[in-house]
């Protein structure tokens, strides 16, 4: 089972972006991610699905080394992005995170204005030299995140004063304003209404042209709609990984089948 994904990689047109080998994550005594190996393509959308608590978020956080910030968390195994080991001593996690952006499961806007929330990344990385350039980036990011029309008249209002779904789109705008290569999205649509969800899915579809997008989702329909490949996690292990169409039509593992037909999770 472990090597299914190798067999799947028939399509040599796509370029390999992220490759994880035998990744294990422990939180103290808890073994949260168990020997996960997976290859993620550039310019495509990859979905992680699985029941709650199965380690999707934890594995996602390995990819930009956010788990470094948790004292009790230990990560082992090899993760390469653009064929570079991200745990190499030469790699600066700060630089890595500028390249691998992340949208969190819970919206976490800064207690700053809407404008400053989005301008945060560009400012730190010196992406804009003038005020006008900054507002250009901000507007562009907000438009892509389908939030511009709702906030264009109150960019100075606090980001924390937005509704939950608006906050989540603000966080998405914030992440893409930094112009990352890879975008990790942890259930970005869980707080959104169907219209905003459709807009975000459209955004993800656009992003696919130039980015590598990894999305965690609890919605099978969403995974089926937007992703090329899907990984099914269960109790910390990667059970099955392959073309989304195949996973949803003819899953190989009974656990996958049970999950997508709604019998577990």
């Amino acid at each position: 089972m472990k090597d299914t994904h190798l067999a799947e990689r028939v399509d040599t047109m796509t370029q390999l972006k992220i490759s994880a080998r035998h990744v294990n994550v422990h939180y103290g005594e808890t073994h949260a991610v168990k020997d996960v190996s997976v290859d993620i393509d550039a310019n495509s959308v990859t979905a992680f699905i699985g029941p709650s608590g199965c380690g999707k978020s934890t594995f996602l956080r390995c990819l930009n080394r956010m788990n470094d910030t948790i004292d009790t968390c230990r990560v082992s195994g090899g993760i390469r992005i653009d064929d570079e080991d991200i745990h190499d001593r030469k790699v600066d996690p700060v630089q890595l995170r500028a390249k691998v952006g992340m949208v969190f499961q819970k919206p976490n806007p800064f207690p700053k204005s809407i404008h400053d929330n989005v301008a945060y990344g560009p400012k730190i990385h010196g992406l804009a030299r003038t005020r006008a350039e900054t507002s250009g980036i901000v507007e562009d990011a907000l438009r892509k995140a389908a939030l511009w029309d709702e906030v264009k008249d109150r960019l100075d209002a606090p980001g924390t004063g937005l509704s939950g779904g608006q906050q989540q789109r603000l966080c998405i705008a914030r992440a893409i304003a930094t112009a990352p290569d890879v975008l990790l999205m942890d259930e970005p649509c869980s707080a959104l209404d169907p219209v905003a969800t459709a807009q975000i899915e459209e955004l993800i579809d656009d992003l696919r042209q130039s980015y590598c997008v990894v999305i965690v989702t609890h919605s099978m329909q969403q995974a089926a709609r937007i992703s090329r490949k899907t990984a099914f996690f269960h109790l910390g292990s990667l059970v099955e990984f392959g073309e989304t169409d195949r996973i949803f039509t003819s899953p190989e593992d009974p656990r996958t089948e049970n999950y997508i037909t709604g019998r577990i999770g």
Binding site: M66, F104, K106, N108, F110, G121, I124
Partner: protein, 408 residues
């Protein structure tokens, strides 16, 4: 004098009645409910609580009111109420409350709602005490200060740069040198304590490991427990001579061991835990998700602290700093021992100066009558101090509110 004993036994009697009321009302509620609790509008316990408060609160209230009536009467030279009648009146109020509550505690009585009302009145009374005390202090201060300003021109007090009290009369009582000393010492203290305390807090909450934290935090907090007189001694014996020998004399800035610098630095040490401990708690209460958000955008740790954590914690940090400023302005012991008691207007931080609080103490010690401008000036000084700290608090409120409006 049985009445003296009686007055002292009054609290015991009232509390006894309250407990009796609790037990009796609970029992009665139980009895009326029988085996079927569902018929009761409230738990038996709630009936008991209501009875307890019905005895206690009216008794305490009536005691306070009756004593007030008596004391006002005595001022006018009439005994409106004897101590004996106060005793019996309070006791009957308690007894009536007790009997009434017991009689009421039957099935239909909504005792939970009733005791809710008692609790509310208790809370209102507590806040009234706090507010009335403030007003009382301000009033007495104002009263004595007006006495002073009748005898001494307020313009001379506020704008004269001369402080030379003379108990034989004809004193110069200008506040400026004292105000200057107060502000100068406080400024040095804060200039030292705020950066040190804040950086220590940032280190402890953002960088230090669990073990370091558990050792360092209590160590810093020990500083807050040292009596100020001990700090004063430290200033007098160690810091003062040290500064004189290594800075003041070599730099040709004077040869006094008592100096604004000495008092300011030692006071700064005293204030470190105020700033660091509060700031540390506040920084810790900034949600981790906020830091994660910043780190995930490729910000470094210190960028995250500067751009996200500190702004989010700012209202609390401002509060901590102003608390420290209030302490600095009101501090007396360290100033007496560290900066001396000579009123002086000077920019040189190595010269001895003194503060408002020190002069309040020195004007009131000594045996002059309480009517000369030399003693009454203490109240004018106190009033100034009050206004100063009040202004500081208002400033804090304004800063915090402005910030809140902007961000929350």
């Amino acid at each position: 004098m049985w009445i003296l004993d009686a007055i002292f036994s009054l609290p015991v009697l009232v509390v006894g009645l309250a407990i009796l009321g609790y037990v009796a009302a609970t029992a009665r509620a139980h009895a009326t409910a029988g085996s079927n609790f569902g018929t009761l509008a409230a738990q038996p316990r709630a009936h008991g609580t209501n009875a307890f408060f019905s005895v206690l609160i009216p008794a305490v209230g009536s005691f306070a009111a009756l004593s007030l009536v008596r004391s006002i009467g005595l001022r006018q030279g009439v005994e409106t109420l004897s101590v004996r009648s106060i005793f019996w009146l309070v006791l009957s109020v308690a007894a009536i409350g007790c009997i009434d509550a017991i009689l009421r505690s039957s099935a239909g009585f909504r005792a939970r709602v009733a005791s809710e009302a008692w609790i509310k009145s208790l809370l209102i009374a507590a806040s009234a005490i706090a507010i009335l005390t403030t007003i009382g202090i301000l009033w007495s201060m104002l009263f004595e200060a007006t006495q002073f300003f009748r005898q001494y021109d307020w313009r001379d007090f506020l704008f004269s740069t001369d402080w030379a009290p003379n108990f034989r009369g004809n004193s110069a009582l200008g506040i400026l040198p004292l105000l200057w000393g107060t502000l100068y010492v406080s400024f040095i203290a804060l200039a030292f304590a705020v950066p040190v305390g804040l950086f220590a807090a940032i280190y402890l909450s953002e960088y230090a490991g669990q073990r370091m934290r558990s050792v360092a935090k209590p160590m810093i907090e020990i500083l807050a427990g040292i009596p100020t007189i001990v700090y004063g001694l430290f200033a007098l014996i160690t810091v003062g001579p040290l500064l004189r020998d290594h800075f003041a004399q070599p730099l040709g800035l004077g040869d006094s061991a008592s100096s604004v610098m000495t008092a300011g630095l030692v006071m700064g040490i005293m204030l470190i835990p105020f700033v660091s401990s509060l700031s540390d708690d506040i920084i810790n209460s900034v949600p981790q998700a906020m830091r994660d958000g910043s780190l995930a955008l490729g910000a470094t740790r210190s960028e995250t602290i500067r751009n996200v954590v500190i702004p989010a914690a700012l209202p609390g940090i401002v509060g901590a700093i102003l608390l420290a400023a209030g302490r600095a302005i009101g501090e007396t012991m360290i100033v007496v021992l560290g900066a001396g008691a000579a009123a002086r207007l000077s920019l040189n931080p190595f010269e001895a100066m003194t503060t408002i609080t020190v002069k309040i103490v020195s004007q009131l010690t000594g045996d002059t009558e309480f009517a000369s401008p030399e003693t009454l000036v203490a109240f004018a000084l106190g009033l100034t101090l009050f206004v100063l700290t009040l202004g500081l608090n208002v400033l804090a409120l304004v800063i915090v509110r402005k910030y809140r409006e902007h961000y929350e």
